[in-house]
Amino acid sequence: MWAYVVRRALMYIITLFLVSLIIFVVIRVMPGDPAQIILGTEATPAVLERLRDKLGLNEPMIVQYLDWLEGALTGNFGVSINYDVPISDLIASRLLVTGPLTALAIFFTIILGIPLGIYAGVHRNSIRDYGIIVISQLGIAMPAFWTGILLILLFSVRLRWFPAGGFTTWSEDPLAALESLLLPALALSGIRIALITRIMRSSLIDVLGEDYVRMARSKGLTERIVIYKHAVRNSLISVITVLGLQVGMLLAGAIIIESVFYLPGMGRLLVLAIQQRDLPVVQGIVFFMASVVILVNFVVDISYGILDPRIGYE
């Protein structure tokens, strides 16, 4: 098993390296002169030259890349042009919003998606099953930011139960902070809930048709034990895999949702950095997000075998 883990780890490290290269090439090489992009067309040559020097753009490309990579691997992404603070500090402070937001969204996905899927799978082909299928089909087609807007319309504008946006910091009032994350997390999890419901349902139906389930039934076990102890357990494997792979999608979704609810998270920082042409910040955040996604994919990959002993490590 360890040989397998090491081999996979090496593959993911190569992937991470390639990702860093792609980001660097896209940001530094494609558009021409980053200093020009940051300052616009009206900057004087002297100002441009000073910024080029500050960004290290006068060094050879390969030196620039290695410098940046060395920094990025030790958590040093350079300094933001607009805020003039280390980018790692910016990311760390925004992570306090984006982290709990995604965690809460995963929580909603699990506590709503899995039971709905089990319910639909157990009552296959009933009216209630069809109802759940139709709603989940709709859910997959709903863009998260529209779900968010509708939630604001219902819970903030009409019912006035929740704030319509903004964020109270954790140190100020932890409960209020959590409250301001509830609607965004719900909006973010909408598509995920629909997806997990469908996957849970179909994988439960598959498992219920297998021999060992028939065996458990013919032993005289109650339907409850057959379903929850034997069938659900095995069908959870594919659900957990999909859930793991959704982490990347959640981070990307957070970029838009944070803009809908005016949350000061990483996604909002990214969008603002793009608008303000703060390229080092864009580069840092994209690399950070991509690393998180790659790390999660690696963990999911490895946990296959731990969850399901039938899958061997070759």
């Binding site: 992937t15 863009p143 469908r198 994209v286």
Partner: protein
């Protein structure tokens, strides 16, 4: 063809995409009002006989704007899927057909892009190329290249060992002819299903980018941008945020169901896997 309509997914998907595509064509010749014409005194009106979907904060007719927005979404879907499909084939065919080193190098590169969430990649690319509809099409298209490349490679990998390929080779066909005329047609069904689903995803992605201000630029109507602008005024009138959102859902749902339906028809074993 009649057989197709026995699939419920296909029928509903066909109907919904039909509505969207007809609206797109219709909007070239007719919209109830000029979609960009402002009429401030008639701003934020409720739906009535004059304006079926109401008016927005500049008094523009929402129905006309939703209709014109369909052109946007369909164009982005077509171009993005076109880019993803053609470059995906270009990379996937040699990787799957030849295997070996070509495969290793291409697939490592593809995996690196695949590790990126598509929306993040699209945002990164538009941030560099600059906002605008053309760039967001390119960006969304690029983020689909890995999907199509992996799919093509997998299919070629399994099909190249089949008898009909050996037969073609025995008859003296060249590599290009075998790949193009014998293997590719056998992978078409899978590619069509994926293309339909990517079309739906492209509509969602374009709406998202436009919402962030990175896609279609004002005053041209785009469903995502309309939602962004209407959000500010939704305390005064909820209608401008309802209809563009519904349009997105109908278009996305339509192409999703169409994709599911085609898959049900072409390959009944794959039912319900997504």
């Amino acid at each position: 063809m009649i057989r197709c309509f026995k699939s419920r997914n296909f029928s509903i998907g066909f109907l919904l995409t039909g509505i969207v595509i007809l609206t797109t064509f219709l909007s070239f010749f007719y919209t109830p009002y000029d979609p960009n014409k402002m009429e401030i005194p008639a701003r934020l009106q409720k739906p009535d006989n004059d304006h079926w979907f109401g008016t927005d904060h500049y008094g523009r007719d929402i129905l006309s704007r939703v209709m014109k927005g369909a052109v946007n979404s369909i164009t982005v879907g077509l171009i993005a899927v076109g880019i993803g499909l053609s470059f995906g084939l270009l990379l996937g065919i040699p990787a799957g057909y030849y295997g070996g080193w070509a495969d290793e190098i291409i697939m490592r590169l593809i995996d690196a892009i695949y590790g990126f969430p598509a929306v993040l990649l699209a945002i990164l690319i538009t941030s560099i190329l600059g906002p605008g509809i053309k760039n967001s099409m390119i960006a969304i298209g690029i983020s689909y290249i890995p999907i199509f490349a992996r799919l093509t490679r997998g299919n070629f990998l399994s099909l190249r060992e089949r008898e009909f390929v050996s037969a073609a080779r025995a008859m003296g066909r060249g590599n290009l002819s075998i790949a193009w005329r014998h293997i590719l047609p056998n992978t078409l069904s899978v590619l069509i299903v994926q293309a339909t689903i990517c079309f739906a995803l492209a509509i969602l992605a374009e709406a998202g980018l436009s919402y962030l201000g990175l896609g279609t630029q004002p005053p041209d109507p785009s469903w995502g941008r309309m939602l962004k602008e209407a959000q500010t005024f939704m305390r005064l009138s909820p209608w401008p945020v309802i209809f563009p959102g519904l349009a997105i859902v109908i278009a996305t749902l339509g192409f999703n169901l169409l994709g599911d339906g085609v898959r049900d028809i072409l390959d009944p074993r794959m039912k319900f896997l997504r």
